[in-house]
């Protein structure tokens, strides 16, 4: 069983961070994992995406070109990758930033106004984790249990005070 996930958006949205969290969660559950970022030279803006594979088997290519799961956090990402998702796959859409609907009919689509929820709750930088909360709920092979340990791994040592708010964001997505 292998789950190939593509997180895509623009730089500064925490695309790489969300991917890292999911990869670490798999690692701590003794699964095979890989995380591969792809981004431009900009710190903010520009396109950013990352390939995450969580698998029971050793991983061959770490590049996800046909994802089982696509997390699209801006319109160019949805335009670019919608047709690459495997049939029967899942697409998670930040519906605050993407006003159009997914055209495919052979995939499950989840619309979450992640950026709007994040702004309302005063955690505007955590739309990435809200949408990831929903992802963990809807992709059974990932699951929501055991989020604490991987969070502690990916939140840097000097920002450990942000652990709780990350957890809150994940739960907001889970409950949406």
């Amino acid at each position: 069983m292998s789950c190939n996930i593509l997180f895509a958006g623009f730089g500064g949205q925490g695309i790489l961070f969300a991917g890292k969290f999911v990869a670490y969660k798999g690692l701590l559950e003794n699964k095979q994992v890989s995380w591969l970022p792809s981004y431009g030279p900009e710190m903010r803006g520009g396109t950013a995406n990352c390939s995450v594979i969580v698998s029971d088997e050793p991983i061959g290519s770490p590049i996800v070109s046909n994802p089982d799961v696509l997390v699209a956090m801006n319109l160019p990402s949805l335009d670019r990758y919608e047709n690459e998702v495997v049939s029967g796959g899942k697409i998670f859409v930040d519906s605050t930033l993407i006003s159009r609907k997914v055209e495919r009919t052979d995939v499950d689509v989840y619309y979450i106004p992640a950026t709007e929820i994040a702004n309302e709750k005063g955690i505007s930088t955590l739309a990435n984790m809200i949408i990831t909360g929903k992802l963990l709920k809807e992709v059974p092979s990932l699951g929501f249990d055991g989020i604490d340990a991987p969070l502690a791994k990916v939140v840097s040592a000097r920002h450990q005070d942000l652990l709780e708010v990350n957890k809150t964001a994940l739960k907001l997505g889970y409950d949406y």
Binding site: K20, A23, S34, W35, L36, I63, S65
Partner: protein, 348 residues
């Protein structure tokens, strides 16, 4: 752990206490890691004013017999070429890491394998080789770093890790090698005579052609020994293979996916993955040439390794090229399509 960080930590565990570098994407995490760790363990991290300065600092430390390294990416490695030739000419062990990006010129910042020739054919002036290791996983980024230091010390010559942007940037679980600074006798090192021995000379200048010729011949005797004893490669599903894919680094992993799919379609295909690019697995390829009907070289350049495959098998069988360049990575589907077309008779 990121591939770049795995190299840095493995180097420290191999007893490398000196790092000199200059930042360049996509290898900067190596320098960043060293900057953080070296001061804590009493080592030296120095960001030089240029790549050229950095490689010459490496030469200085190498002359004292200490383990030392530098790292860069393609354009930066071109700048280091002069120093690498001097290291080879002075018979000094050192590790140079190249996390390749697209070229030529400043190129781009996405992954590439287009420095293959530069790495395995010398890459700078003079007759010389360096040991070139091509990791295909974050695990190998760590373990081959240890191997590189050992081989460099054993044969008194520079060694290179030839990785690419994907290997440097990706994260995978890794088991780090145990701290192990194998000790090699280095009677040639400049450690101070303390008035007890004749002074050593480390130098690459020989004005008498007879002497310079002798050093070249001796060096190539050593290279022969390395070609005999130090070849590393992986064979994958080669027992009954009729088509042999040859690929290294990240493209070998893409090719593996394609081979699994091709096997599911009943195509007898396997892979030889060179781990040492120099010395190249010539014997294994020659043996495969007796059994296989065709070869496919999968790489991210315009067919540089393909030429070494042709040389290794003495052009006994056709060698086809499956490549993407400029920062593009071939997809498993592209490799599969090539395997299928070669299986049906080839499309050279």
């Amino acid at each position: 752990m990121k591939g770049n960080e795995a190299i840095a930590e493995a180097a420290i565990r191999a007893g490398c206490m000196h790092y000199f570098g200059y930042p360049i994407t996509p290898q900067t995490e190596i320098a960043a890691y060293m900057a953080k760790r070296m001061p804590k363990i009493g080592g030296v991290f120095l960001q030089a004013e240029s790549e050229i300065a950095a490689v010459n600092m490496v030469l200085g430390v190498a002359a004292t017999g200490k383990r030392v390294m530098t790292s860069s990416s393609s354009p930066g490695v071109s700048l280091k070429s002069e120093g690498i030739s001097y290291l080879a000419g002075s018979d000094l062990p050192a590790l140079i890491v190249n996390v390749q990006r697209g070229g030529p010129g400043l190129g781009g910042i996405q992954p590439s394998q287009s420095d293959y020739f530069q790495a395995v054919k010398g890459g700078s002036h003079g007759d010389f080789k360096k040991i070139v290791l091509a990791p295909s996983s974050v695990q190998e980024m760590a373990s081959l770093t240890s191997t590189a230091f050992d081989l460099a010390d054993k044969y008194r010559m520079p060694a290179m890790i030839l990785a690419d942007g994907t290997m440097g940037q990706m994260m995978e679980p890794v088991e780090l090698p145990e701290p192990n600074a194998k000790s090699f006798d280095k009677p040639w090192a400049l450690t101070g005579t303390k008035g007890e021995r004749k002074h050593n000379i480390v130098n690459s200048l020989y004005l008498k052609p007879e002497e310079l010729e002798k050093t070249n011949f001796e060096r190539y005797e050593r290279y022969k020994e390395i070609e005999e004893n130090e070849v590393l490669y992986e064979e994958y599903l080669m027992e009954d293979a009729e088509i042999c894919v040859v690929s290294f680094g990240i493209t070998a992993r893409v090719a593996k996916n394609a081979i699994v799919e091709a096997r599911a379609k009943g195509i007898k295909v396997g892979m030889i993955r060179p781990i040492t690019l120099w010395p190249f697995p010539n014997k294994a390829l020659r043996a495969a040439a007796d059994k296989c009907k065709a070869f496919i070289s999968v790489e991210m350049n315009m067919g540089q390794m393909m030429e070494d495959v042709q040389l290794a098998i003495e052009c006994k069988k056709p060698v086809y090229l499956c490549n993407r360049v400029g920062g593009m990575i071939p997809s498993p589907e592209e490799v599969l399509a090539k395997i299928e077309s070669v299986n049906e008779g080839g499309d050279k």
